[in-house]
């Protein structure tokens, strides 16, 4: 994680923003967390390290990183979750019957991205896509 700090710092500062201790801590926490954390979970973690850090700051910081596209914000199973993105672009298949979440490399979405670019000139952000549906297991058990 520490090898990211410089990249992030420069990326942020290059746009006239600042990598404050609060933002750094949120970033570190996101690194440390496995994946897909809610704002509340992130606040709890962060709060233990820096008790003065306000909840509003967590929300603003997460929104800030989302706009910089350092993290992805998604709705998975009715919950808004955040995740560091960039190293391994991926997408999720979320089953609406058993709530199972599969994670797959985003390489298979390249065709779709190419098509959108060629056909509509649209450069799609497909770093982190969430697709709802019914998984193989549930399809088998309820035909």
């Amino acid at each position: 994680m520490s090898h990211h700090h410089l990249d992030f710092s420069q990326l942020i500062r290059a746009q006239g923003y600042r990598l404050t201790p609060q933002r750094q801590l949120v970033l570190d926490t996101l690194c440390a967390m496995s994946s897909h954390a809610t704002a509340c979970e992130i606040y709890d973690q962060v709060s233990a390290q820096m008790p003065a850090l306000n909840q509003a700051t967590v929300y603003r910081t997460l929104e800030f990183f989302v706009e910089l596209r350092l993290i992805a914000k998604s709705d998975i199973g009715g919950q808004t979750v955040y995740e560091l993105v960039g190293e391994q672009p991926h997408y999720h298949l979320v089953c609406r019957q058993c709530s199972h979440v599969a994670e797959l490399a985003a390489t298979q979405l390249a065709d779709l991205a190419d098509w959108l670019l060629v056909e509509h000139g649209f450069q799609a952000d497909l770093d982190h896509v969430v697709i709802q549906g019914v998984c193989a297991g549930c399809r088998a058990s309820s035909p």
Copy 2:
């Protein structure tokens, strides 16, 4: 719209639920609205017709229809919006620079759906997909 009432009613009652006046009104309102309405907009409309109808009921009703897959819930430009779905499955390309929203027929996503089904046995709900990115216009003006 009225020709839908029977379909909806039966679809709902078949699962042991009820098509109450409140739900009917929300459904009618969604029909009447062009597209992509927020919970607040829907409540305002509905409230004019049935002042006693509570806001919590609107939220619960929308969630109810989402679970029945009669309406789609999406995040477009930072707002949670609802739309009747079914007649014209479609997807949206949302530009993160100019906020422009394009609407396209979902037929082009069929390849992706097929691939997910064949390769992962996953039956994807691609009735209403929202894809973020940068539109052709913005790409042209900022290369």
